[in-house]
Amino acid sequence: MTSPAAAPTNAGTASAGIAAQALDVTKVYGTGETQVRALDGVSADFASGQFHAIMGPSGSGKSTLMHCLAGLDTISSGEVLIAGRPLSKAGDKELTELRREHVGFIFQQFNLLPTLTARENILLPLSIAGRKPDPKWFDAVIDAVGLRDRLSHRPTELSGGQQQRVACARALVSRPAVVFADEPTGNLDSTSALEVLELLRRTVDEFGQTIVMVTHDAKAAAFADRILFLADGRIVDEMHGRPTAELVLDRMKQIDARVAGAPIPASEPR
């Protein structure tokens, strides 16, 4: 099933640590007639310090996989590990703590609190945890997202791109083991989208941040070190070494054709 793609560029980091891991994960929604296997035996390692993208057609299970990896959703079977900790048996309290300490989130809808300033929004995860920010790290994050002069603004006074960069800073500020981003550029114009993607790339390169990003945009995926392709809840392909958007698009088309073609041999020709 794996394609003969190039080996990971920084193999050293990969062996140094796995930020998140899926082991034969299945996720079934509903029962009986209406049953949907959103994830069907997914196994994948997400190496630390790398930018991972998850691609696939709509309904292929991208978001489900991300939610399961992030401890937001329970899995039907298999196991998920974040920073070496298994999640399948964890209760709400442990999962909440795990998300607070080890996971960062970037949402498609930004999801900032309108009543708080940009600075307060960024510091929110630390405030919730009752922790003091490390001033050096906070400065580094602020500089990385380039919002120093906007810190006292409220979300309504910021553009979409700026809001998403605040959301990025919020995800980074607690130094999580892994940041999950679900279509982070889905609500942005192309210029803002580019800014956000470049920002994410920089955090991987400069801070060694691990990022798992769900996207259906080949251009976005092209910023990643490694791309997983999902179809019908299974990993059907993988690309490494920062391929160009065109190459990603080509691979997508191949997969689409395979998936679309797949049922035909299964049924009798008419």
Binding site: T96, F105, F107, L113, L116, L124, P125, S127, I128
Partner: protein, 847 residues
């Protein structure tokens, strides 16, 4: 449009149920008040009908004078001479006629305490073995046939804890006497122990005449006709022989009179309940207005779409009002059922308090149903009117855009609020300075409305202040932010609590002021002991001359100041003035009058002291002679010896103590005792108690006991009001639940995000709780401020009626605020649980 309305109703079940609770409660009180009073008055009607069924005509004496209030004790009327009984018996058409003697008689229990109910009277009467019309029959024992024998009704015997063969003491106009209980009586009608919680002792006729002070005559003659003539004809015939000093009533007239007394009492009770119903509905109106504006805001897109599809503004308004109409109708129906329940509940409560009502059917008059529906539907629709008009302002383009309805700026609303509050304050001032009570009520209403409209502007700084105290943690911080996000909604929610607490607070201020004033007054008298009867009205309400003589004999007593009351006409004019008969000790030591003119330190025989206001009203001056006519019709001509400044103890006439012989109540009403220097207070107290051992109704109290007793009465009144105002607070709590539920719903996505980035369920709950507590505290603080304002205004208005000193019940007010905070915590329980249980994924996905 109708289908959209129904769909919208069904889609918002939970919120509408919460909202309708306030209407249900209000309507329950309205209908409960009517159902209870209707049921009771029909039951009393049929009770009196059956009690009086054998009496075709009754003869009784005319009132001693028009000024004597009929307290239902049977006294205050001229006795019927025995000769008239013979005359009546000879009238053609009279089958038999039985005489009766009635009056007040207080039975003393085995424990030595007089049986004093706070409502029903203590009655005495005669037991005539030949009386065929008597409503009473013997349950056990026999009729009294000696002067020291008595029959008690079963209820009375129970209360006194005595049985046939026991001794019992009875206090009446004729003094205190010990009797042997020879029989226990019950009412023929239903074998009742009592009619409505009254006590009744029946003596032989001569003993009744002596004890109840009806010398040589009767109080009533009950006549049973032979059936040949109508009661009216019989009445006419009897009037021929009954003389000018009697009144003759037919059975119908008798029933009507007895029930009208009861109905008057029930009418007060009805008004009392309706006032609380009004408070509940007024508070409820805020909740309804709030809910409907929330509903309209949530449905902006849907309503805009309707407009875009061609619905007119009127149709949009009507669709919202139709929703309110349905909610009001259903709530009223439920409230009506609640009213039936409430009427049973109140009856149970009263029988627990010892005020039993006759059993019988529960009556729901058509009037009750109509009023309940009109009130419930009317209040709901009126409250929904503003939100409905706002809905009509939604522009059709709002269907495409995510734009809220433009709110009128807060400042404009605040200006309107300030104007209303000011107008209300003026109306209150007019109402309190002698204007009609309705103007006062209207003023209170306007002030509430004004403050409610002003409060959104106030909410920002107050909420921020509260947040600074409560919200140091991130959850507190976020909760505070949420509370100030929608100042209008926060203010409307808090307004309900504000009204409840303002009313309780105002009553608290008045109560505390009254208590302090009484304390000061008692201290000001300088008396060591205060002696008075535990009975409020009637012959037993005084300190008899025998008792005074006993007090006088007690060693260690320096002086006794005595006082009796009556009413008097001056120089035969139509109005009456209060008159006190006082001895010099009372005038010089207790009253401590300030002279305007003449000598006011004593009141010598043949003289009268007069207050400045009375003197002014009548153009009287020192040296003038005036003729006083007391309520008995007797009077004296006295010379004005002095004019004094009105004070809370004296604002009419003061005459020499000897004048009380011409009063209706000839006994001294209250005696103040000063102890001689060096005497031991406790010793004197126990000597006084011992000296008065034969006067079970007379109580000796030192200053602190007296003050405690008086203030305890005030506390009781406060508790009753608080009890009823709990209703307003319950409605307010419902409003908070409603607002919080919405707040949680609106912020679903935020909550999802917060949970995703690591907020624990506990923290989520704490955040919702903070919001709730802040809203509650905001309402409570506003309420306390408004309530204290009302209280001060009332106290000022009542300062010349005994509430001279302003006192603020700080502890009580602080407790109210704490209670409000607890209400906030409780109101948050369900919404917080809901917020904490949100599915994170679904929450993040919501629009």
């Amino acid at each position: 449009m109708w289908r959209a309305t129904v769909r919208s109703l069904l889609g918002r079940k939970f919120r509408l149920i919460l909202t309708s609770i306030s209407i249900v409660l209000g309507v329950s009180f309205v209908s409960g008040a009517f159902i209870l009073t209707d049921s009771l008055s029909t039951r009393f009607d049929s009770l009196f009908q059956s009690v009086n069924q054998d009496i075709d005509v009754e003869v009784r004496g005319v009132p001693v004078s028009g000024d004597v209030p009929d307290l239902g004790l049977g006294d205050g009327r001229v006795p019927i001479p025995e000769a008239i009984l013979d005359g009546v018996r000879k009238v053609d058409g009279v089958e038999y006629a039985s005489p009766g003697v009635t009056g007040q008689a207080v039975v003393v229990g085995k424990d030595g305490k007089a049986i004093v109910g706070f409502g029903p009277p203590a009655l005495g009467g005669s037991w005539d073995p030949d009386d065929k019309e008597s409503p009473l029959s013997l349950r056990s024992g026999r009729a009294p046939n000696a002067d020291d024998e008595v029959v008690l009704t079963a209820y009375t015997a129970d209360e006194a804890d005595v049985a046939v063969g026991d001794e019992v003491r009875i206090v009446a106009a004729g003094g205190t006497q010990t009797y042997e209980v020879v029989g226990i009586a019950q009412y023929r009608d239903g074998n009742r122990d009592s009619l409505a919680g009254e006590t009744y002792a029946a003596f032989t006729i001569p003993e009744a005449q002596r004890m109840l002070n009806v010398p040589g005559g009767y109080s009533i003659i009950d006549v049973h006709g032979s059936g040949d003539v109508s009661n009216d004809q019989l009445k006419q015939r009897i009037e021929q022989v009954a003389g000018s000093q009697t009144e003759v009533l037919t059975n119908d007239e008798l029933n009507a009179e007895q029930t009208s007394d009861i109905k008057e009492g029930l009418g007060f009770f009805n008004t009392f309940l309706l006032v609380f119903a009004g408070v509940a509905l007024f508070v409820g109106a805020f909740i309804i207005a709030n809910t409907f504006s929330i509903l309209v805001a949530q449905r902006t897109r849907e309503l805009a779409l309707l407009r875009a599809l061609g619905a007119s503004r009127g149709q949009v308004t009507r669709s919202v009002l139709a929703e309110a109409f349905v909610v009001g109708l259903i709530s009223s129906a439920v409230g009506l059922a609640g009213g039936v329940g409430l009427s049973y509940g109140l009856q149970a409560l009263f029988s627990l308090l010892g005020q039993g009502f006759p059993d019988g059917p529960t009556r729901i008059e058509p009037r009750t149903i109509i009023v309940a529906l009109i009130v419930g539907v009317g209040v709901t629709c009126a409250a929904a009117l503003f939100p409905a008009r706002k809905a009509a302002r939604i522009a059709p383009v709002a269907a495409m855009r995510d734009s809220a309805i433009p709110d009128k700026p807060l400042r404009r609303q605040a200006t309107v609020g300030a104007v209303l509050a000011a107008a209300g304050a003026v109306a209150m001032f007019i109402g309190l300075t002698g204007g009609p009570l309705l103007v006062l009520g209207l003023g209170v209403l306007l002030v509430f409305l004004g403050v409610a409209l002003l409060s959104p502007v106030l909410s920002r700084p107050v909420v921020a202040g509260l947040g600074a105290i409560l919200g140091r943690s991130i959850t507190g911080r976020l909760g505070t932010e949420n509370a100030s996000r929608n100042p209008r909604r926060t203010a409307a929610t808090a307004a309900a609590l504000m009204i409840g607490l303002a009313l309780v607070g105002a009553i608290g201020v008045i109560g505390a002021s009254a208590k302090t004033s009484i304390k000061d007054l008692v201290q000001g008298t300088g008396a060591d002991f205060i002696i008075q009867s535990t009975i409020q009205f009637g012959a037993a309400a005084g300190v008899s001359d025998d008792a005074l003589a006993k007090i006088d004999d007690v060693a260690g007593i320096d002086s006794i100041s005595t006082l009796a009351f009556d009413q008097a006409h001056i120089d035969g004019d139509g109005t009456t003035d209060g008159v006190q008969a006082a001895n010099d000790g009372y005038v010089s030591t207790i009253l401590d009058l300030k002279a305007v003119d003449g000598d006011v330190d004593r009141v010598p025989d043949g003289s009268v002291l007069i207050s400045e206001s009375s003197a002014k009203d009548r153009g009287l001056a020192v040296g003038q002679k005036i003729k006083l006519t007391y309520s008995t019709g007797q009077g004296s001509t006295l010379k004005v010896a002095g004019v004094f400044e009105d004070n809370s103890l004296a604002d009419g006439l003061i005459v020499p103590i000897g004048e009380r012989a011409k009063f209706f109540d000839t006994d001294v009403q209250i005696a103040f005792v000063s102890v001689s220097d060096g005497a031991d207070m406790d010793d004197v107290h126990s000597r006084l108690d011992k000296a008065l051992a034969d006067f079970p109704t007379i109580d000796v109290q030192d200053q602190s006991e007296f003050t405690k007793q008086q203030t305890a009465q005030i506390d009781q009144v406060i508790v009753v009001f608080q009890g009823f105002l709990v209703l307003a607070i319950v409605i307010a709590a419902i409003g908070i639940v409603n607002t919080l539920a919405l707040s949680v719903l609106e912020r679903t996505r935020e909550l999802g995000m917060l949970r995703a980035i690591g907020m624990t369920r506990k923290q989520v709950k704490r955040m919702v709780r903070t919001e709730s507590v802040i809203i509650a505290l905001f309402g409570a603080l506003l309420g306390v401020v408004v309530g204290v304002g009302f209280g001060i205004a009332l106290q000022q208005a009542l300062s010349d009626q005994g509430i001279e000193k302003l006192a603020l019940p700080w502890l009580q007010l602080i407790i109210y605020v704490i209670v409000a905070a607890i209400i906030g915590v409780l109101a948050a329980v369900l919404p917080a649980r809901r917020a904490a249980k949100l599915n994170i994924l679904n929450a993040i996905k919501t629009e």
